[in-house]
Amino acid sequence: MLAYVARRLAMAVGTVLAAVLISFLLVHATDTSPGAVRLGPGGTPERIAAENEALGWNDPLYVQFFDYLGGFLQGDLGTSLVNGGSIAADLADRVPVTAFIALFATILSGIIGVALGVTAAVRGGRVGQLITTGAGVALSLPVFWVGIILVYLLAIQAGLLPATGYVAFAADPAGWFRSLTLPVLALTIGGAAIIARTANAGMREALAQEHIRTLRAMGTPEWRVRYVHALRFASVPVVSVLGIQFIALFGGSVIIENLFALPGLGQAGQAAAASSDFPALVGVVVVATVVVVVINLLLDLVVAVLDPKVRTA
């Protein structure tokens, strides 16, 4: 167990380092420069060169990299080229928005997906066919399109929820919840479909196991065979897919934040990409990776609790 945790922790640190390195190298592969971005179209070549010099852009790459890494470890992600504000402070406000959307969507996908997938596996027949076909379609739908259709149906036609916009939790908790409902639903439709497929396959595999036959041969009540033993067996693949799903939803929230005008990490990423705000771009990638890695570490612990083979290794 200790060795397992240590290995997962090492992987987590490695992943964050990789994110820093990759995004750092990416922005240095650009054919423009931070000086040009900061000065905008009015910048003369001389002023751009001076600006780049001041920003340290001309230092050797490794010096810049370790400078950045040193700052990162102290919580300093640099300043925006566009508005000069602290990137760390800006992102600190944005992370909760994206994290809540992704987390709620993952949890909701898990609950709905497991319920549907298990039903499909246990009931089989026409109900099972309907669920698997429906899931196949649902996971193919573009999330932004689903989002707009939900806005049309639930906000415009039914008038139940606000169409777009964000309400801070501190200002109005109920309003905050209402403002996140549609984005979470939009992400959940595809997410639940993927979980439903995983749960369906996992449950079918579980029910075909030899040990399930042993349980039946012992006259174990069918509910216990299905919902204690088979479900427990199927839970391991479902939880690992939930982890992958969280990463996907975290990334997918870029699009949803744009659609619903939510001040999250994705919106910052989009703005930074559109304006070539390099330090902000690196900051968004690194912060997003840290969040994803932390959530995955937690899920690894859940897997360890669920799977005795991992726990006792």
Partner: protein, 675 residues
């Protein structure tokens, strides 16, 4: 039907029985509606998009400001956008970029992922460890956000961006392909090719890759759908072709501003994009469906037909002293061939009955039917199973589960997979103990420890706390036996209980079973292909061949004076040598194989392999009494015994029955050979 896990079915290629219709040349995945739709729609969208410049009715930038936001009409089949531009023309002009871009992602992802997987599978664990760690890191990165960084750095060069996406996704491809490549390489012919000196590139190209074709196709189609969604998503964010050039994502973004007033604008582009992704996924599902046809069909268990014991004239009268009395049992695949026909045997209390025969003779099916535990799609189609005077055939699953564990218990072939890997031994033992004996948690634990002692486990406390993967095979089988004893059953069904175990452990488990019979008065039905096991432990034996009992009687009589040629042949092929007898220089074997269900000949089913087969063996005949209360199913049995001919003394010129063997293709009727 390949999903049937039991021995009779596993050795029966039921798929082979399905005639391949020569008239239909469509690949299998196009025969499913989803696959056909997927292939047709994808082909249509790709063709229509690539040829768009030649057929679109309006230019992409051609504005008709008097006809803005129009609904579909004869002029504009799909309507117009806020600037009065024709939607049909714009949708199909926009198609080429995402369709090609997604293709680039798939190519790059497979180019890297598949190559790395092949290399890692070939070079072994050290290379694999490094590349798998790298893949894990790559997989944990939020790829959409990383793509934004790429766009920020290099601008909206969509094909390069999609290639970068391919690099990121290659980790996922690698993960899936590594597993497949490793299992393909483990197959023998790859080793053979390597030994033959083929270069590693050739081995990979000629032997490994083709076997991975299906998985590659499935993954590629799925990945294509995902990539399409990502290109469209980027365009939705504004990272796509610049206006007035159309893109699917931006057209939907545009539509979102008009959702209050003109919701129709959402429909055409959204539906085309969604249908294209659905098509890719449906195609993937259809390709993946190979070999799993049975899984998608609705299986409904047919209520077993109850056939009275007197229905068949040849059935023996009921045995009054027996605890278990099986009469004229028929088991068949629903709407398919019979697996077991006319099996009868009786078991006295406290005795051990062996069901022996080669694999695929229906032993396991017979044993499983005693508890109503036949696999899906297989059921008892006739006959009777009387347990302590009560008919079990036709009982509901609920009624049967009252019998299971409490009265009849089972131990299975593979102890290592018979226990639930997710639960500790103590949980798996105390749970049924509490149910069967109505005791509390603490008392159940004491009973569990006591049961473990009874099955010869000394360090019971440690075993109780263990999980199944921490036990050895022999230990796991002991725990399985303890589990079977939790309900204090009167009958134990043991399906090849020692086959998966080491020889020394086999002997220990057999002596444990013998002790249990002696101490508790348990009756046992033991399924085995090993005559040594039968000689060791059984009081009675029923020899099964091709779904029927060919000879039965007391173990001593059947083994000492085997009457049926098949029994003689089995004994001759048995490597166990009795004390004091010379070790034979060459073991006899039985030519040929057991005919699969559905291809049983009329008359004697062993005739095609029998040294003594003659014309008369192809005609139906009844069994004759033998070994006291037993019987033998051979029409020449008296003739052979008078002539004192046995399998080992027969001339070894090969089966005489070859000329007279009946046509094997003839469907086997279920009457005729039943007793």
């Amino acid at each position: 039907m390949s999903a049937l896990p039991l021995d009779a079915a596993a050795n029966t290629d039921l798929d082979a029985g399905r005639p391949s219709r020569p008239g239909r040349r469509l690949p299998y995945f196009l025969r499913r509606p989803g696959g056909l739709f997927g292939a047709v729609w994808l082909a249509f969208v790709v063709l229509a998009s690539l040829t768009a410049p030649w057929w679109i009715p309006y230019g992409v930038a051609e504005q008709d400001l008097s006809n803005r936001l129009a609904l579909p009409s004869a002029d504009h089949w799909l309507g117009t956008d806020p600037l009065g531009r024709d939607l049909l023309s714009r949708i199909f002009s926009a198609g080429a970029e995402p369709l090609l871009g997604a293709g680039i992602t798939v190519l790059v992802a497979f180019g890297i992922g598949l190559t790395m997987a092949l290399i890692a599978a070939e070079r072994g664990p050290r290379v694999e460890r490094v590349s798998s760690r790298l893949a894990e890191v790559l997989l944990a990165l939020p790829s959409t956000i990383l793509l934004l960084a790429v766009i920020g750095a290099i601008g909206v060069r969509i094909f390069i961006v999609m290639a970068v996406l391919g690099v990121m996704i290659s980790a996922a491809v690698y993960r899936v392909m590594l597993g497949v490549a490793k299992s393909v390489r483990q197959r023998l012919y790859v080793d053979a090719a390597r030994v033959n000196g083929l270069s590693s590139l050739r081995v990979n190209l000629v032997h490994v890759l083709p076997s991975m074709g299906t998985v590659v196709a499935v993954q590629a189609a799925q990945l294509y759908g995902i990539s399409l969604l990502i290109v469209a998503g980027l365009a939705f964010l504004g990272f796509g072709p610049a206006e007035p050039q159309p893109s699917w994502g931006f057209m939907i973004q545009d539509a979102s501003s008009y959702v209050f007033s003109n919701p129709w604008l959402l429909v055409p582009t959204g539906v085309v994009l969604a249908l294209t992704v659905v098509a890719a996924n449906e195609l993937a599902d259809a390709i993946a469906s190979r070999g799993s046809v049975a899984r998608t069909t609705v299986r409904r268990r047919r209520p077993p037909a109850r056939v009275g014991a007197t229905a068949t004239a040849g059935a023996r009268p009921a045995d009054p002293g027996a605890v278990l009395d099986v009469r004229d049992l028929h088991i068949s695949v629903d709407d398919g061939p019979a697996l077991v026909t006319g099996v009868s045997f009786a078991l006295q209390p406290g005795r051990v009955l062996g069901l022996v025969g080669e694999s695929g003779c229906g032993k396991t099916m017979t044993a499983r039917s005693l508890m109503g535990l036949l696999p899906d799609g297989v059921s008892v189609s006739g006959g009777s199973i009387r347990w302590q005077g009560r008919e079990l055939v036709g009982l509901s699953q609920e009624d049967l589960s009252a019998v299971r564990g409490r009265e009849i218990a089972m131990i299975s072939q593979e102890p290592m997979v018979a226990l639930d890997p997710m639960f500790s031994v103590v949980y798996q033992l105390t749970q049924p103990i509490r149910r069967f004996r109505g005791v509390g948690r603490r008392e159940a634990r004491q009973i569990a420890a006591q049961l473990l002692r009874q099955v010869g486990i000394v360090d019971g406390e440690r075993v109780l706390k263990s999980y199944p993967h921490q036990l050895s095979g022999g230990m796991a089988q002991r725990v399985c036996i303890a589990l079977a004893l939790t309900g204090e059953p009167r009958l134990l069904i043991a399906d090849e209980p020692t086959t998966a175990l080491d020889v020394t452990v086999q002997a220990e488990i057999l002596s444990l079973l013998r002790a249990l019979v002696r101490d508790t008065g348990l009756s046992v039905v033991i399924v085995s292909h090993d005559l040594g096991v039968v000689a060791d432990i059984c009081d009675d034996v029923a020899v099964m061949y091709a779904g029927t009992v060919v000879e039965d009687g007391t173990a001593a009589a059947v083994l000492d004076e085997p009457a049926h040629p098949y029994t003689q042949a089995l004994l001759a092929a048995n490597p166990h040598v009795a004390d004091g007898e010379p070790v034979p220089t060459r073991l006899a074997s039985i030519d040929g194989t057991v005919p699969p269900p559905g291809e049983w000949p009329t008359g004697c089913r062993f005739a095609s392999r029998c040294l003594f087969a003659q014309e008369q063996c192809t005609q139906p005949f009844p069994s004759v009494p033998a070994h006291g209360s037993g019987s033998v199913l051979c029409t020449r049995v008296e003739e052979l015994s008078r002539a004192d001919v046995t399998w080992t003394s027969a001339p070894t010129t090969g089966p005489a029955g070859h000329e007279t063997a009946p046509a094997a293709t003839q469907p086997a009727p279920t009457v005729g050979v039943s007793r």
